[in-house]
């Protein structure tokens, strides 16, 4: 391991969770720094030159969404937010404010590491650069030729379906909120019409998934958005 260790800043007020994150991340080769409040977190994010921030949304001193906005003012470093269950709106506003991904408490270390990997990969710009070809399991997307194959068979998509798939592939492994996708595909005037998105997503699933009711790639994050399985 000659490369420098990735630096992760943990902004979380609960000491037990900090301890669990510290132990887990350090044992997987990360350098960790901790902050127990939003204000300190904002300071530390700059001071420590962090590569990634893990941010609890339920901080005592300030709203987690404000912390995300604060970081986004000067940096595009990946931010993964942690939130309690049944707080879908908070997650969505954090994601719309610029957070890269989220995890619902309680979560396992495995899940967290997967999200961190995806986020760091996107940050380094590695995801896009695969010669315009994206492949996961039996799905293959060739952006250069605009060709999509499932199990080696050609699939025809409508323009919207294609744009939808392209958006998901571009952020593969990351959750994309409804608002994000609607804005990207239909434009700002459509951000409230999430049923458009659902209908086209359903038809996309029927074309790409073997069993649309048990999707393999096109995953739904209930109440938040969609995610393309990256691995």
């Amino acid at each position: 391991m000659s490369e420098p260790k990735p630096v992760v800043l943990i902004v979380e007020d609960d000491p037990q969770i900090r301890r669990f994150l510290r132990t887990g991340l350090q044992s997987h080769g990360f350098e960790t720094h901790e902050a127990d409040s939003g204000k300190l977190g904002l300071v530390e994010a700059g001071n420590r030159k962090a590569d990634l921030v893990i941010l609890d949304l339920g901080l005592p001193d300030m709203d987690g969404v404000e912390v995300v906005k604060g970081i986004r003012e000067w940096s595009s470093m990946p931010v993964i937010v942690l939130s309690a269950r049944a707080m879908e709106t908070d997650k969505v506003s954090a994601l719309d404010a610029g957070a890269d991904d989220y995890l619902t408490k309680p979560f396992g270390l495995g899940e967290l590491l997967a999200r961190i990997r995806v986020a760091l990969r996107h940050a380094s710009g590695a995801a896009q650069d695969k010669g315009g070809v994206f492949a996961v399991a039996n799905l293959k997307v060739d952006f250069a030729q605009r060709r999509i194959q499932v199990d080696g068979k050609e699939v025809r998509l409508t323009p919207i379906e294609y744009r939808l798939l392209a958006a998901l592939v571009k952020h593969a492994g990351k959750v994309l909120t409804h608002r994000h996708l609607l804005n990207e595909i239909w434009g700002p005037g459509y951000v409230e019409r999430s049923h458009y998105l659902r209908v086209h997503m359903a038809s996309l699933r029927h074309k790409l998934e073997a069993d649309p009711a048990r999707p393999r790639f096109l995953l739904t994050e209930a109440g938040v958005g969609y995610r393309l399985a990256a691995e």
Partner: protein, 919 residues
């Protein structure tokens, strides 16, 4: 009889009530004297000082020393409450300050001059009302009273001394006093004191005073006061013996009926009745018999009768108003019905030939009374006679059917009189048209027919005019010599007389008939309105409905604006929050209402308490005491205070109170049941949670302690095994915590549905993704129709329902047994099913499964408080759907829920054919 000495149950009950009433009430001690100057105030202050010396908190509320030095000296060292100053017609009057006394709350208070009339604007018109209020709150009162101020003796004293005092105290106050101390002074000594200027008499001319203090008068007054006191002592003795079961002196219960009519005699009859009843220890009833004639009396006279009835009530009588066509029959029927033993009547008003010809009530009653004793009271006094002409005047005006001054709502009478003139003219015309020769007697018949017609349509006055005109016309037009009033045959004079008399008799009969019909109409109206209100009250399920019905009915019946007020949580009467009906009374006086509520007594206009206010306030009492106050602003006070109307109001208020109590009790019972249910739910929740928390916690503590204390003996596999245990058990606890949280949020109503249009497939997909780990190794069949419509739902919540149903299926089936998730489309709904091949549901438990904390196998190995299905049901029902469970043919259970398709999904522009083509 063997148990003759046993106390009569009714008497026992009366005694209990008496003692009940006294408990918590202050004691009243009256210093009673024959006249002013006997030393009542002096004796009273001495007694107060003695109490003070004993350490009792005795204060002086109000005392008039009238400048007497020795009396004033007694005030030394006693606390005297400052008087209230009232401005009245430019003069400033010093009055007893009731509120200050209530605030001071001494043990004993001295309040002189019980008969005193308070200045206008005071809370009560009379001082004895103030005293009642003091007693009500438990303050003992010492007060002074002269015999001439006693209501029942007022006229007697007036007769003896020639001075009639206006200020009277009802005998009931005197009789209810706990102690009466007679302050006695021989007449000679009193006259001596008068000469020394030690006696003061208010507002009386010197000559009158001298007249009053004649020795003869004083002896008579002394006798009266001694006798009245002796009467009281005797009554006490009787009560004592009754209490002790000594019954030999108690004679059979006497019941005296005092019949009053309009006029001055009535009040004398009432007072005489009271003395009579007191002497015989009898109960007494004062009855006013309202015959059709009496109903035609002017309002002022009827109001006077009402006042007499109220005086009678104040003197302790029961009062009743009887409506009947015949006075004597009404009296006798009522007397027999009530087992009256003695009847007291005024002397007959008719005399001489009229009495002989028309009979008299008294004669009939005496003749038919049977074993009832009948007493007659002497003729009217000089004052009454002076009054008589004006009464007679008014009465005759009513007789003639002329409109009463100020009587509202009287129909114009002139059409009747016009008819009275027209009809005889028509009869005359008929007489001329009849073919000649006409027997004159037949013409008489024609005229009588005309009179009859007028009488039946227009009543007495017009028909009498008609008969007079008929006689005149008959004479003028038909009796020879024709066209003169002269009569050739004197025999016709008899015809005229008979004709006129028959006309009058017809008039009377017709008029009585009309009045009776009117009376019956009123009675029917009262019965109908009572029936209407009870029917509406019985049908009402909410307090607001009851109030609306009561206010509406009472309002119409009494021609009043009205409102029912209730106390708030702290017992203060408050305005209702709801806006009232058009006829609701706004701006009721809360202070008066509060007083009425606290004292359970009537107050306001036309009563003894706070008569200065606009409205009348009645307490509304249910079985458990006062529950509210009704305020009435009647268009006419008589509509409320007529005895029959008062009874009607009382009945209506009682019914309202009962209806309100019924609703409140039902509400309370329901609340209690809900509370009990909540309690039992909470208990089973605690039991369930503690079990479900403790089980995984034991595993976690055990496994983690093994890991923490490991000194290298555990191999890698064992460590992983322990870590796995901790992880699994923690997941169980997470599910439990989530379920409890969801349930709490659902129950608190904190969950609002975020409904939007979703394809069901997507929800099923996201759920199956979430449950990938627990579903691993399970054959799972998903059958969803290709063209599922968009459904408007909360994806997170419905997703949770699916998760719960699948987790439930996993929990109750063995590993490797297959599961099925499917959906069916119907025109109005979509049914989603989760099926398993497990043991199925025990018969009869299909519904209970959805109850909170129900588990198919209690305390079994399966974990999780039985909340999942309850939450699912709450969510599905919030979406307007149903959820149920049943056994599958071929084994296993299936849980189904429906989602409505009651709204058309939004349009989505379909896309053109695919653009991306294979190259």
């Amino acid at each position: 009889m063997a148990d003759a000495s046993r106390p009569d149950p009714d008497a026992l009950l009366a005694r209990v009530q008496r003692e009940e009433k006294k408990r918590g009430r202050g004691r009243l001690k009256i210093f009673f004297g024959a006249s002013a100057g006997v030393g009542k105030t002096y004796a009273m202050l001495l007694a107060a000082r003695a109490k003070r010396a004993e350490g009792v908190d005795a204060v002086v509320g109000v005392v008039e020393t009238h400048g007497r030095v020795d009396t004033a000296a007694l005030l030394e060292g006693l606390e005297v409450l400052p008087p209230r100053t009232v401005q009245y017609r430019g003069a400033s009057l010093r009055e007893f300050d009731l509120d200050a006394a209530l605030k001071r709350r001494p043990a004993i208070i001295v309040v002189d001059e019980l008969a005193h009339t308070n200045a206008e604007g005071s809370r009560h018109p009379k001082r004895w009302n103030d005293v009642e209020e003091l007693l009500d709150v438990g303050i003992d009162v010492y007060t002074a009273l002269n015999v001439q101020h006693l209501e029942s003796l007022n006229d007697v004293v007036g007769g003896i001394t020639g001075i009639r005092v206006q200020e009277t105290v009802p005998d009931t106050v005197f009789d209810r006093a706990d102690e009466v101390e007679l302050v006695d002074l021989p007449p000679d000594e009193l006259i001596e004191r008068l000469r020394e200027g030690k006696v003061y008499m208010q507002d009386q001319a010197k000559a009158a005073i001298e007249n009053f203090f004649r020795k003869g008068n004083l002896i008579a007054l002394r006798e009266l006061s001694l006798r009245r006191t002796a009467e009281r002592v005797e009554e006490q003795m009787r009560l004592y013996r009754e209490d002790q079961g000594i019954s030999d002196v108690w004679q059979a219960g006497e019941l005296i009926l005092v019949c009053i009519g309009p006029g001055e005699l009535a009040s004398r009859l009432v007072r005489a009745g009271r003395r009579f009843a007191a002497a015989l220890h009898a109960d007494w009833i004062v009855a006013y018999i309202e015959t059709p004639q009496l109903q035609r009396l002017p309002a002022a006279v009827r109001d006077a009768v009402m006042k007499d009835l109220r005086t009678a009530e104040a003197l302790g009588a029961e009062t009743v108003t009887l409506s009947a066509p015949q006075m004597s029959a009404a009296i006798l029927d009522f007397a027999r019905e009530k087992n009256v033993t003695k009847i007291l009547l005024g002397k007959p008003t008719r005399s001489g030939w009229r009495r002989w010809l028309l009979g008299s009530v008294v004669d009939t009653v005496v003749r038919e009374a049977g074993n009832i004793d009948v007493y007659l009271m002497g003729a009217e006094g000089p004052e009454a006679r002076a009054q008589a002409p004006s009464v007679y005047m008014e009465r005759s005006r009513a007789y003639l059917g002329l409109p009463e001054a100020g009587a509202a709502g009287t129909k114009p009478r002139w059409p009747g009189y016009a008819q009275a003139a027209v009809v005889p003219a028509a009869c005359t015309a008929i007489g001329f048209l009849l073919p000649a020769p006409v027997e004159l007697l037949n013409l008489v018949m024609v005229y009588l027919l005309g009179v009859m017609l007028v009488a039946s349509r227009y009543g007495r006055g017009p028909s009498m005019v008609a008969s007079a005109l008929s006689v005149a016309s008959f004479d003028f037009f038909f009796v020879p010599p024709v066209f003169t009033f002269a009569v050739s045959d004197l025999g016709y004079l008899a015809t005229f007389v008979v004709m006129f008399l028959v006309g009058i008799v017809i008039s009377n009969l017709a008029a009585n008939l009309r009045t009776q019909a009117k009376v019956a109409g009123y009675r029917e109206k009262r019965a109908a309105s009572l029936y209407a209100i009870s029917r509406e009250l019985a049908a009402a399920h909410a307090e607001a409905e009851i109030l609306r019905a009561a206010v509406a009915h009472i309002g119409t019946e009494f021609g009043a604006q009205c409102v029912i007020l209730f106390p708030n949580a702290s017992g203060r009467i408050a305005y209702p929050k709801a806006p009232g009906e058009p006829f609701s009374l706004h701006g009721a006086d809360l202070g008066v209402a509060q007083w009425v509520f606290d004292h359970s007594r009537v107050a306001g206009r036309g009563t003894d308490t706070l008569p200065g206010t606009d409205a009348v306030y009645f307490p509304v009492s249910g079985a458990s005491g006062p529950i509210g106050v009704v305020a009435l602003l009647p268009s006419s006070l008589r509509r409320v205070f007529l005895p029959e109307q008062q009874r009607l109001l009382e009945t209506m208020l009682n019914q309202t109170a009962l209806a309100i109590e019924r609703v409140r009790l039902a509400q309370a019972a329901q609340n209690a049941q809900i509370k009990a249910e909540t309690e039992s739910v909470r208990n089973s929740l605690l039991a369930g949670i503690s079990h479900d928390l403790r089980t995984p916690l034991s595993s976690i503590v055990g496994a983690s302690s093994s890991l923490a204390e490991d000194d290298g003996r555990l191999d890698a596999r064992a460590r992983r095994e322990l870590a796995r245990t901790i992880y699994d058990e923690a997941q169980r606890m997470t599910t439990l915590a989530n379920n409890i949280l969801d349930m709490a949020r659902l129950e608190a109503g904190a969950v609002s549905l975020h409904r939007d249009w979703y394809p069901l497939e997507e929800i099923v997909g996201s759920v199956l993704t979430r449950l990938r780990a627990p579903l691993a190794g399970r054959p799972l069949e998903v059958r969803l129709p290709r063209e599922l419509p968009l459904l408007k739902l909360d994806t997170v919540m419905i997703g949770q329902v699916l998760v719960n149903l699948i987790e439930n299926a996993l929990k109750y089936t063995s590993e490797g047994s297959p599961l099925e998730v499917s959906a069916e489309i119907a025109p109005r709904e979509v049914t989603v099913a989760v099926a398993d091949r497990g043991p199925g549901i025990p018969a009869g438990l299909e519904e209970r499964l959805f109850d909170k904390f129900y588990r198919a196998a209690p305390e079994g190995a399966q974990s999780g408080v039985g909340l999942g299905l309850t939450i699912s049901r709450a969510v599905v029902e919030a979406h307007g759907g149903r959820i149920w469970a049943e056994n599958r043919p071929g084994g296993g259970a299936v849980f189904r829920f429906t989602l409505l398709r009651d709204e058309a999904p939004p349009e989505i522009e379909r896309e053109e054919p695919p653009l991306v083509k294979a190259s």
